[in-house]
Amino acid sequence: DAMVIQNPRYQVTQFGKPVTLSCSQTLNHNVMYWYQQKSSQAPKLLFHYYDKDFNNEADTPDNFQSRRPNTSFCFLDIRSPGLGDAAMYLCATTGSTNQPQHFGDGTRLSIL
């Protein structure tokens, strides 16, 4: 049974057209993460939430925003996608420090 669910699995958007990716979890974990993974690259952390506390990585572009309305859901908003934002976006959760992160199957974003 999927515990971290990402929708949609594939998303195509136009250059500059805002897009929202969603993640939901059934694990009741208090920490949620968004990673960007480009082809043959390591996943790169964009930001994470510890409960409602938002933590942005220093090099995450301002174009990327996130919302976490409740424990189960988290959204990634890309305000004006550029061609360089085409990637796999991975959501992950964990219950506490030192525990493994559980990943969803990602959303593959394409930019036309």
Binding site: N98, Q101, F103, D105
Partner: protein, 112 residues
């Protein structure tokens, strides 16, 4: 700067041909080292966590070991279904929350 380097980038094995994947890390204080398996188009799947030098974990044909500078993922008598990209990630004590630093991965192909 905290860093994770995996080698080789790609590895081709015959079924039954044992080998090892390497993960070298440089972090200012290791909280934990994690191994994940990633199949094409999927999110990373958790395999092992190692916390201290000398620790070993095993699961089926996989065995992970940890020293103060590197970790090895040993694959004994691999089967074609072991083909995947194996990612190593570290959690450093100076990282906010539970953020992981990933290596680029080793892509393993096992042929019958």
């Amino acid at each position: 700067e905290d860093q994770v380097t995996q080698s080789p980038e790609a590895l081709r094995l015959q079924e039954g041909e044992s080998s090892s994947l390497n993960c070298s890390y440089t972090v200012s204080g290791l909280r934990g080292l994690f191994w994940y398996r990633q199949d094409p188009g999927k999110g990373p799947e958790f395999l092992f966590t190692l916390y201290s030098a000398g620790e070993e974990k095993e699961k089926e044909r996989l065995k992970a070991t940890l020293t103060k500078k590197e970790s090895f993922l040993h694959i004994t008598a691999p089967k074609p279904e072991d083909s995947a990209t194996y990612l190593c990630a570290v959690q450093a004590s100076n990282q906010a929350g539970t953020a992981l630093i990933f290596g680029k991965g080793t892509t393993l192909s096992v042929s019958s």
